[in-house]
Symmetry: D2
Subunit: 331 residues, 4 copies
């Protein structure tokens, strides 16, 4: 469990209902979840209702629902669209409603299950360097391929020569739209399948709420991922996710935001990719001007010199970009 002292000065602690206090601990194991969800929407009943400040420990399935068990499995044969990327939840939070913000501090993302615990693969007509359902091409597809890798805290053993750093994060997390039910494969204003490596232990995710209770969904953890999730698939894994949850009343904005010790980030998802970056950057300008006293054009000019971009995914139905600014400049 992280215990960083910076949390005391976080927006979550300063403005949340629970003021940083840790409430009751809830467990949501696979068995308790029952059926998984494949859309983010208001049409499912909560599996759990918690109070602001509570901690939830959720067991998540991998993005394939665990069906790709060996390197001999065919993704095409095993996967059934649209029942991909199973999500846990929804979790309702007492006292939250439209116009409020759900704060989710990510305490831990721990790999779960037998080794090799990590899976990646090539799925035909999916990925950043192939023709897809949307970028429709006549070219022949790439061949399917599955790779299973040993994953533990010491790293992701890609092969005998290469071990990648273990940098687990949550690929898909967010809340229910007001009336839409959005595929768990898609990121959007509600969060969802952002595949953004910054959504990791040490960060707090802020998501604007559209329905009473918020209805938090979570799933799809990765043990490691490159920028853009190029082949469409990260090191997919089952995980145990520990979240500290709070409510910020009356804090409303358009797209998910993220806070770490050192920076604030806004997150946009759209196609083409420049629109995802535009959304993230405009939200950052608005945050700086709305809450940190910047003139809007000054903020725009400063970001031009000092902002950083993180490419989450360039493979999902919308692409995801995080734009960040160091907190030390928000003076």
């Amino acid at each position: 469990m992280t215990n960083d002292s910076w949390l005391k000065t976080s927006i979550m602690t300063r403005r949340g209902v629970a003021r940083g206090d840790i409430g009751r601990r809830h467990e949501l194991p696979i068995a308790a979840q029952g059926a998984f969800h494949y859309v983010y929407g208001p049409y499912a009943k909560p599996v759990l209702t918690i109070n602001p400040g509570d901690v939830v420990v959720v067991e998540t399935e991998d993005a394939f629902g665990g069906v790709i068990k060996s390197e001999q499995d065919s993704p095409t044969a095993k996967l059934t669209f649209p029942y991909l990327n199973p999500q846990c939840g929804p979790i309702a939070v007492n006292g939250i409603e439209k116009g409020d913000c759900l704060a989710v501090q990510i305490i831990a993302v721990e790999t779960r299950g037998e080794q090799p615990a990590g899976t990646t693969c090539i799925i035909p007509e999916f990925g950043g360097l192939v023709g897809t359902a949307a970028t429709a091409m006549l070219n022949p597809p790439l061949p399917e391929r599955v790779k299973k890798v040993h994953v533990d805290k010491s790293g992701v053993r890609w092969n005998d020569k290469i071990t990648l750093p273990y940098q687990p994060f949550i690929g898909t997390i967010g809340i229910s739209p007001e009336i839409e039910a959005i595929s768990s494969l898609q990121p959007d204003y509600h969060g969802g399948n952002m595949d953004l490596p910054d959504v990791a232990p040490g960060a707090i995710l802020y998501v604007p709420v559209h329905v009473k209770g918020g209805l938090l969904y979570v799933g799809d953890c990765h043990a490691a991922q490159g920028d853009g999730e190029l082949s469409g698939v990260a090191i997919e894994q089952r995980a145990t996710v520990t979240l500290h949850i709070d409510v910020i009343k009356g804090w409303s904005f358009a797209w998910p935001r993220l806070e770490t010790e050192n920076f604030l980030m806004t997150i946009g998802s759209a196609r083409p990719l420049e629109d995802a970056a535009r959304i993230a950057y405009r939200e950052l300008v608005r945050w700086m001007s709305g809450e940190y006293g910047f003139d809007e054009i000054d903020a725009y000019m400063l970001l031009s010199q000092a902002a950083r971009i993180r490419l989450g995914n360039m493979v999902d139905p919308k692409y995801t970009v995080g734009a960040s600014i160091l907190k030390k400049y928000l003076v």
Copy 2:
């Protein structure tokens, strides 16, 4: 009611369960509809259940739910997101299920209500030549403006000097996804807010079905529209829509298709716009090669010489393109 002789040779007549026969006539007036829908999804109960071959006469609201009543009304003040673009239905069809195709012959789209019956307007941060929620900009928005126009069969009276031809069509129509509930503002593989002027009397729309009963929704008729629906708003109107509906068993494909006397069209919706065109064109290649005996590369090469593109919208959450080929070349 159209009575074109070509209908006898249409795909709908040749392959539909009803073989072109006209069944029972159903009325779905505003009063019977009750609450409108703002998503296309499987979570609403059918307002009507019909048999293949039946005709349905539906009264639709305009895209604003009728609240923009005068040129002095402020769209921003009157409209409440996401409760825009109200849809009638869903209408269930007996005997249709996932893997089948719903055929919708558009018999009539008739302007309804008091004059001036047509409305168009400028909505801030919406439209093809302004910064929007997705193509996020810092520029100041355009001022709001509302224009009410007299509409009848003789034309749309833009002003004293300009009368535009009356070319009514259905802006938003489609069926329920399997598990998603998609905003009625968005076009996608299920149809929806395509804003494609070819979806007009004289055409048959074919949509692949994802749930038992199909669950047809319809709304948002236009009295006239330019290619791309540039400002984001056409000549919006209330209408009475007459549809002849049939079921083609076992005809499954990915995106909506359309047939008229002279051409076949495939419809793609995506961003960026080239992806919408790619989808439409790949679907047309697949249709030609799958059902008309073309070698896939021959089809591709022929379309390069003989296909036509219709730009539906370049303003909605996805842009819509129709790609067509004359039937006389499908020999």
Copy 3:
């Protein structure tokens, strides 16, 4: 030679230096051209200098420089990048300079050379439905294929069953940028490889001029082409092009414009495709407001109801879109 009476009221006749008069006739046969050009720029010497009102008859090569002579030829083996799409010219016009407009009335585009006079083909990594140099993919390419077709005024004989209408036009035409030398494969603000079927007999093209003399280039005629030039290749042909050329002093704008008997069109080239449409539409708004008395927002709203879009190409380094409005609405 066309002789349409509408020409008397054209912008070219009303505002051109020559007032519609036909001046001297110049011939620019292949032999006189000498070396072809593969860039549009100010660094080549004019092959011909003419006066406003003169007519020029130019023999153009096909886009392949004539090297694809049989269906057994390999495009990859025969074509040498960047020496593709050979252009005739440049032709200098006396009395034109930066800030003026070059008016080019297209009198005739006549197929030239032995039968089969038309060529189309599949070139690996080029086309609208394949991975390309810019939309970079890892998929295997399509196989090469060459198709030679008989072309005459009665049509393009695609095969025994399909004859396409003969609709010849100029694929590549434009003037020199001020300092850039732009590949003849690319369309842009200077014209170039627009592949827009409206650039055909019966139309007048207006191009803003950047250098003294204007420096007109022309090449790459097509006997027929579908919207978007899907495979990247139309019915390519050698042609004899007859152009009537004039100068409109002090008429300056940003992108090529086109006039026919019935409509005015603006032409934009960009990626993504929506930017090409945005450019074309904004130019049309500006034309209507700058020269026809429209309030800018009125023009925007009217185009939303009455404009038409023509997709030139979706395969070149920039995509090309024409946006048009009927002249009868410009009242």
Copy 4:
């Protein structure tokens, strides 16, 4: 001057003609340059001819040609399109020709001139969050604004409270295309206006050569820049640039590459932004498979877990992305 020991193992040292040796030192002060260039092309005569291994010290102008001298200056009034972003050179290198690679080790980029030495500004219709010439909008533009900042090695003094780190780099650098003359505002396969902060002291840039002598151009240095150069303008500055130049015979590829102590990067420039990322990533796959023994699909899968993306610019005529992989994984 950097003197890093890793350079001994760099590609430049291992494969270059000069084998890492430092040759003659050439000075190219402003006075010796004479006229600046505003296109990258083969039509200008070299100002300097050097040998492989030589060092060149170049004085560059800022992107505005130094005309924005105070915060009261109007960019619109002072700047004259297309005479923006003045470039020094071209510098010819003996013994290099088409098919070879030019290696440019960046030894130093030093701020030059009177304080305040840094300039940034808002230019109407230019930037990442405003309508532009390509993403054409009808919205009113942002107001012009100029900001002059003190720049030295201790930092960029944004204001009394914020000092940004001094991270100088070269915004525009590259070689001549074969026949094109490309605006110095544009990045492309030849390098040019990439605005990529990794092109900084400590890096070696590799550019494929298209003409005899290579013809190196350089200009447009920045003292600091955020990812994407959001407002279109970085901390623009005059600089003295020290480059160590070598030739790698017979090393040919499609897009610029970059090497640092720790990573290899490929650079793509295109619109939409995903195409820039696709280019960069495909080039990285090709580099890994062509020179480091990776199976192409293995490389693709590994990049999906371990690659990093740097957004250079999202404001120039093409957007620029660098994709990198740590050298330690290339085993």
